[in-house]
């Protein structure tokens, strides 16, 4: 008897949950049927996750710092030990913020490229901007004479600055080239092909430089290609932040034509989108975001291609007004996560960032995509 009662209580409870859920869903639907099926509230969850990851990244590292100490430093106070305050403010905070900005930039630029080219394999680097950056770095690292080499070896910070400047210059040059092409070429497929070919061309030149370079120089170049969030100092951070924010604002302004582009270019035009300015806007935003990140952090792979897919799966929406903030938050979370793991907390060993992003992220994205496919069948 009591067993029976127990079961019925349980089933009533389940039913109540289902009814509540259905009501909640239909309430959202009645308010805005375009969101039926989507999960916009996950944005809030992503924001909370980002906050938690930020705290975690400030606390974890070669030396672990308690959360309450991190919190008091963040709130303008002092940690129990002076070294802790120093570590958090001088090292870990700039690094975490760099990871956040880089993650946002890569996630959003990946989304822009995938939507514009209507290709799930598109990523921030398809336009060849990072190839330009790598060319700049390769030129400095591999061909620098005695002076440059001494600079790199002796003055660590100045060397980093030189690399950043070289990468930034290379990225800016290639970005101007792509923009010039984007202004003239109407077909997105042509633009994609030209970008890819440009990338191959530059990579070949870099390979040529590598082929004739000294082994220890090559190592320095390879280190740059691993990517890192730790090279950005507190003074450089505002520059990165400004460029990334400009790119993000431009992207936000493009969310309406981006939605129209989901139907293809012909339909987008018939819905009143100005294709030329949209194309220029998308290329400019991507170029700003990618060149800033590549200059300061190196060519960080995977985040740009994976985060948009992850977001579409999580938010169950194709609307860029959800996806843009979504890729921002998810990109930042993924980058922070990768940065924490690369540090191997409690250890002095540091893994290459690009190794971690792919090793950690690829399985997650595979899972999300497989779930999406299963849901469709």
């Amino acid at each position: 008897m009591s067993q029976l009662a127990g079961r019925s209580v349980k089933s009533v409870a389940t039913k109540a949950i289902w009814i509540r859920r259905a009501k909640a869903q239909s309430a959202t639907a009645r308010f805005s049927p375009e969101l039926a099926g989507a999960r916009p509230l996950l944005l809030l969850l992503l924001l909370i996750l980002l906050g938690a990851l930020l705290l975690l990244s400030l606390s974890l590292g070669s030396a672990s710092i308690p959360f309450d100490q991190v919190a008091s430093v963040l709130l303008g106070g002092e940690a129990d030990r002076l070294a802790w305050t120093h570590i958090v403010l001088k090292f870990r905070l700039p690094k975490a913020l760099t990871a956040i900005f880089a993650g946002m930039a890569l996630g959003v630029s990946g989304l822009l490229m995938q939507t514009y080219f209507r290709n799930p394999l598109a990523e921030p680097f398809v336009l060849g901007v990072s190839s330009g950056a790598s060319m700049g770095v390769a030129l400095v690292v591999l061909t620098a004479g005695g002076v440059g080499g001494a600079l790199l070896a002796g003055l660590g910070l100045a060397g980093d600055l030189l690399l950043t400047a070289a990468a930034g210059l290379g990225a800016t040059l290639s970005m101007s080239l792509v923009l010039l092409v984007a202004i003239r070429i109407q077909s997105s497929a042509t633009l994609l092909l030209l970008g890819l070919m440009f990338g191959y061309l530059v990579s070949a030149m870099v390979s040529l430089l590598l082929y004739f370079a000294l082994p220890e120089r090559i190592q320095a170049y390879i280190n740059w290609t691993f990517g890192s969030f730790s090279g950005v100092t507190g003074e450089q951070l505002p520059v990165l932040a400004m460029i990334v924010l400009a790119g993000l604002l431009l992207s936000a302004a493009l969310s309406k034509p981006l939605n129209a582009l989901l139907l293809g270019e012909d339909y987008a035009r018939s819905l009143g989108a100005n294709l030329k300015w949209t194309r220029i806007g998308i290329v400019l935003a991507t170029a700003l975001l990618v060149s800033a990140v590549t200059a300061f952090c190196g060519p960080i792979a995977f985040i740009g291609i994976a985060v948009p897919h992850l977001c579409r799966g999580l938010l169950a929406s194709a609307d860029h007004r959800l996806l843009l903030p979504g890729t921002c938050l998810a990109g930042a979370c993924v980058a922070l996560c990768a940065s924490i793991i690369a540090e191997l907390p409690g250890n002095n060993l540091v893994l290459p960032l690009n190794v971690v992003t792919a090793l950690m992220g690829a399985p997650v994205v595979m899972l999300v995509i497989l779930r999406q496919v299963r849901g469709k069948l």
Partner: protein, 335 residues
């Protein structure tokens, strides 16, 4: 008569080629599309129907002449101003994943909404009206991935309606749909032209359907475009001139094409109703000429009896249970 919503003045369409002569598909076109009218654009493949539609929509530039929306040149309108007055539906309905029916139709409000595409109460009213107009309210909350081609095309038409433009251009919107869906779509467009006072131009290969549902037809051939009421175009032979080719001919009596015009012996068919009609078609299909006069070969249908089909040929009578059996016997006797 009202002034046309869309008209062309001396329009020439085709392709510009660099450092070579332009390819002109049609020239000297003076066409008019009026509100309240469904106009069918018919013509053989490759004659330039899509190019005409794209030129009317301002996507392709005219080689010569002008396209006017009201009194404004389409080429001089901004994309936004154009989208407020002219909407399009293309052959293939795109399938963006993770979008539901409502958000697809809501894209139609883009030319009217703010920079973020936010929907006002008035926008939502228009969207609901458009969804109801295509009888697609039940598709609103369904993901597009779960819909059929026909359902998605229906939503694309609703999206064009939601755009609230006076002129609607549709490029073979029914090409991938089955017959009932095609009939439904054309009826829908016909109704919308009248009820919503839209000027609708639809290109199609469905001659029969176009003849039955369009208020006007534009017949496009290599010689140019003939316009008029469907029946007038049939009677003055324009249909035949446009489409006749080896092996098919336009039959004015029934308003459709017949394959391999029959040339065999006459067969007299007696009886009335469906059975006689379909027997005639079977005979035609097999190369005989059905007739009403008595002749050497006679075929009749009787409602009772096991062998319902009666055949008399060369003075011999036989009965058969199906049209197929009768045709076989007829072939055998003639051989």
């Amino acid at each position: 008569m009202k002034a046309p919503a869309l008209q062309t003045r001396g329009l020439a369409i085709g392709y510009r080629r660099r450092a070579k002569d332009d390819i002109t598909l049609a020239s000297g076109l003076n066409l008019g599309l009026r509100a309240g009218e469904l106009v069918g654009l018919l013509g053989p493949n490759g004659v330039g129907k899509s190019t005409l539609l794209r030129t009317l929509a301002g996507i392709n530039k005219p080689l010569a002449g002008r396209v006017l929306l009201g009194d404004q040149d389409v080429a001089l309108l901004t994309p936004l101003a154009l989208a407020r007055r002219l909407s399009m539906v293309l052959t293939v309905a795109p399938q963006p994943n993770l979008m539901n029916g409502y958000s697809l139709v809501a894209l139609g409000r883009h030319p009217h909404s703010d920079w973020l595409g936010r929907l006002s109460a008035a926008d939502r009213k228009t969207i609901a009206w458009a969804l109801n107009a295509v009888d697609g309210a039940d598709l609103a909350e369904k993901p597009l991935a779960q819909l059929s081609d026909g359902q998605r095309q229906k939503l694309m038409i609703a999206r064009a309606l939601a755009q609230d433009a006076e002129v609607m251009l549709l490029d073979e919107p029914t090409a991938y749909l089955d017959l009932p869906r095609r009939v439904e779509t054309m009826q829908l467009l016909k109704g919308l032209a009248r009820s919503a006072q839209r000027a609708i131009l639809v290109s199609t290969h469905d001659l029969d359907l176009a003849l039955r549902s369009c208020h006007q037809l534009w017949l496009m051939s290599d010689l140019g475009i003939k316009t008029g009421a469907p029946e007038d175009l049939v009677l003055d032979g324009a249909f035949g001139d446009t489409f006749d080719a080896a092996g098919i001919a336009f039959d004015k009596r029934v308003g459709s094409f017949v394959l391999d015009p029959p040339h065999g012996p006459q067969v007299s068919v007696s009886g009335a109703g469906d059975h006689a009609i379909w027997m005639r078609r079977a005979l035609e299909r097999s190369g005989y000429i059905p007739s009403d006069q008595a002749g050497a070969i006679e075929v009749a249908h009787r409602a009772n009896g096991v062998g319902r089909w009666h055949l008399r040929i060369n003075g011999r009578a036989s009965t058969h249970t199906s049209i197929q059996a009768l045709l076989n016997a007829l072939e055998g006797e003639r051989a």
